[in-house]
């Protein structure tokens, strides 16, 4: 980074003695002046609040301290404690990613499309994975409620970090106080955790966490701003203030052995798309780093073959400069860097006002096929009733050695299948029994025979 010239420093000092220090993070005298003004306003507010409590505050020393913190690179949003996200003022705390303006642009554009929809369901369910401060669902809610009265929004925010959840809870409470409508929940879950792996961490996989909290398994819209920076990009493309002060957990996906740099950067997307399929999301909006990653994600979504349409949105998707549809009919919309990938299926097309929609039955069949239950082909050949719930039975006979354990496991699976069916039949009545998931038990062979184990952390 080039040094700041002496003449500029002198000029800044002539304007205000605090300015030269702020030039280091801002690089620009106007930006530094703005930041200094905001810091002064913040100090005035703090002093006023202290005075109201009957306390006193030395304004000069506080300002000096804040300016020196900012000069060392600490983000202004952490110093002031808030960041504007669309129309909302979101509380920020160190340890949780600061909301970005680009994310707000994507969310606003999504709601702009949704609010003109002819018929939205009376209860719209929004699932936000890796919620952080909770900014994305809160802005979605704010924008939708200011435009429409006929929709009730149910929001679920999921994050793995307890710090983030605490902050999101605070932000949600504040939002609910200013506009008491709809429902908001937060749960702690790990999105990338494989539900069938042995667990030793303290966060549950998403599916299990949903089940444990008694939350519905199906969600209409899935949005996510997951960590998406690969380790090499983390060291080369992020700014110093991001590296030094923002949590790496929210920026770089966890590393897994035998995995390339790009694969690690994209780690969340396959899992998010799988979740989108499992919760039967009709609209999916995922934030990405750049055009290359956007195209990789779009390709993955296309390969899943459940979506009716896929779009890549740039930083300003509201500007209608549509590039010609590239590979796999994925059109790129807007101006700036590529920022998010939008996928829709079934009723989602009508909600977004898109032309490409498939019939309800086709959509359901495609969704069903993507689990690998049915061979790809004509639906009529696939069996008498392809829409019935199916379970993974051992199709090949187990070997001699595995017979007893496989026998027990099959028995357990059969029993849980019956319970699951019973639950399905009760779904309409709203009676939900809280029993373990079908896959929750397994057997192992020990020295004293078979032992039943519960698959739980």
């Amino acid at each position: 980074m080039p040094r700041i010239g002496n003449s500029l420093l002198r000029k800044a000092h002539a304007l205000d003695p605090f300015l030269p220090a702020l030039l280091a993070p801002c690089r620009d005298i106007h930006a530094a002046q703005n930041e200094l003004r905001w810091l002064r306003q913040h100090v005035d507010r703090v002093a006023k609040a202290r005075r109201a409590r009957g306390d006193t505050l030395a304004k000069g020393s506080l300002l000096r301290q804040l300016v020196s913190e900012r000069a060392s690179g600490k983000p202004l949003q952490y110093i002031l404690g808030t960041e504007y996200f669309g129309d909302l003022e979101i509380r920020c705390r160190s340890g949780v990613l600061i909301p970005r303006q680009d994310t707000a642009a994507s969310v606003t554009n999504l709601v702009r499309l949704l609010r003109d929809a002819q018929k939205l369901p009376p209860e719209l369910r929004l699932l936000d994975l890796c919620t952080g401060t909770g900014c994305v669902p809160l802005l979605f809610r704010h924008e939708l409620y200011t435009a429409r009265d006929d929709v009730d929004l149910h929001i679920l925010g999921v994050d793995v970090s307890p710090k983030a959840l605490k902050l999101a809870h605070y932000n949600m409470q504040r939002a609910h106080r200013s506009m008491p409508r709809g429902k908001m929940r937060l749960i702690r879950a790990d999105v990338v955790l494989n539900p069938f792996a042995d667990q030793d961490g303290d966060a549950l996989p998403l599916k299990v966490a949903l089940n444990h909290s008694g939350l519905p398994p199906f969600w209409d819209i899935l949005v996510s701003n997951p960590p998406y920076i690969s380790p090499s990009n983390y060291w080369t493309t992020t700014t110093r203030s991001v590296r030094g002060y923002e949590p790496k957990l929210a920026l770089v996906p966890p590393s897994i052995a035998s995995q390339s740099d790009t694969e690690q950067g994209d780690l969340f997307y396959p899992r998010l798309l799988e979740i989108a399929r499992d919760v039967e999301a009709k609209i999916v909006l995922l934030e990405v780093a750049d055009l290359d990653q956007a195209q990789r994600v779009a390709q993955r979504a296309h390969n899943l073959s459940i979506f009716d349409g896929i779009e890549i949105w740039r930083e300003r998707p509201d500007i209608n400069t549509q590039a010609p549809a590239g590979v796999d009919n994925v059109s790129i919309i807007g101006e700036g860097n590529a920022r998010s990938v939008l996928c829709w299926r079934g009723a989602g097309a009508a909600w977004l006002g898109k032309a490409t929609a498939s019939a309800g039955r086709d959509d359901a069949l495609r969704l069903f096929r993507s689990y690998g239950h049915l061979p790809h082909g004509d639906a009529s050949q696939a069996g008498t009733s392809p829409m019935e719930p199916q379970f993974d039975w051992p199709t090949t006979p187990p070997s001699e050695q595995d017979l007893p354990m496989a026998f027990h496991n099959a028995r357990i699976a059969r029993r849980s299948r019956d319970r699951f069916r019973e639950r399905l039949s009760r779904r309409g009545t709203g009676l939900w029994t809280d029993h373990p998931y079908p896959e929750d038990y397994y057997f192992i062979r020990t020295s004293f025979g078979l032992q039943k184990r519960r698959r739980k952390p």
């Binding site: 801002c26 106007h30 930006a31 703005n34 930041e35 003004r37 905001w38 983000p75 202004l76 949003q77 002031l80 960041e83 504007y84 669309g86 129309d87 003022e89 990613l97 600061i98 970005r100 303006q101 680009d102 994310t103 707000a104 701003n225 960590p227 998406y228 920076i229 990009n233 493309t237 992020t238 700014t239 203030s241 991001v242 923002e246 929210a250 920026l251 934030e287 990405v288 780093a289 750049d290 930083e315 300003r316 700036g336 860097n337 920022r339």
Partner: protein
């Protein structure tokens, strides 16, 4: 109190409870002279830019600047606004300023900014006049009183001085006399 109707006499933007004025009469106040309507801005005529450095965005950088630059294509006026941290507020303010500039260009002295400016400066001028009148009057009264006091004072202590005009001079003369006395 409850019999009297309560009237809100403020424009709609000032809706905090501290700003409610209650009238003694039910006669509504005369409305202020209406200002010319704001010119409407069409989105198609505007080029809006969010100014931030080039390079990667998203999670990779955290920007504090949310500056907005608006260009009005028909007139070529460019407005930049970056005073607040909220991009939404910056956009609104930039639009407002652009409207005002277009109006000034179209209407000249009849534009609402000029009218408001004239009103403010007129009020300021009359307040200044009032202030000057008041102090002149006060000054006359004080002067008379002090002249009387001064004469008494001078007559009592300093025999040699006959014409003393203001209190200041009396004091300075008195000080000088004291110092002389000390010496």
């Amino acid at each position: 109190m409850s019999i009297l109707p309560r009237l809100r006499l403020l424009p709609s933007h000032a809706s905090t409870p501290f700003n409610i004025l209650r009238a003694f009469t039910t006669t509504p106040p005369l409305p202020a002279k209406s200002l010319p309507p704001r010119p409407t801005l069409h989105d198609a005529d505007l080029i809006e830019k969010f100014l931030h450095g080039s390079g990667p965005g998203g999670q990779k950088i955290n920007k504090t600047s949310s500056a907005v630059q608006l260009k009005h294509i028909p007139t070529g006026i460019v407005v930049k606004y970056q005073d607040t941290r909220s991009r939404t507020v910056n956009r609104k303010m930039a639009r407002k300023i652009l409207q005002e500039k277009i109006e000034e260009m179209e209407l000249g002295e009849g534009a609402r900014t000029r009218i408001k400016q004239r009103e403010v400066s007129g009020k300021k001028r009359s307040a200044e006049k009032k202030r000057r009148r008041k102090y002149r009057k006060l000054g006359e009264v004080e002067g008379e009183r002090e002249r009387e006091e001064g004469i008494e004072y001078g007559g009592g202590e300093l025999d040699g001085i006959n014409e003393v005009e203001g209190a200041k001079e009396v004091e300075s003369v008195g000080d000088g006399a004291k110092k002389e006395g000390e010496k």
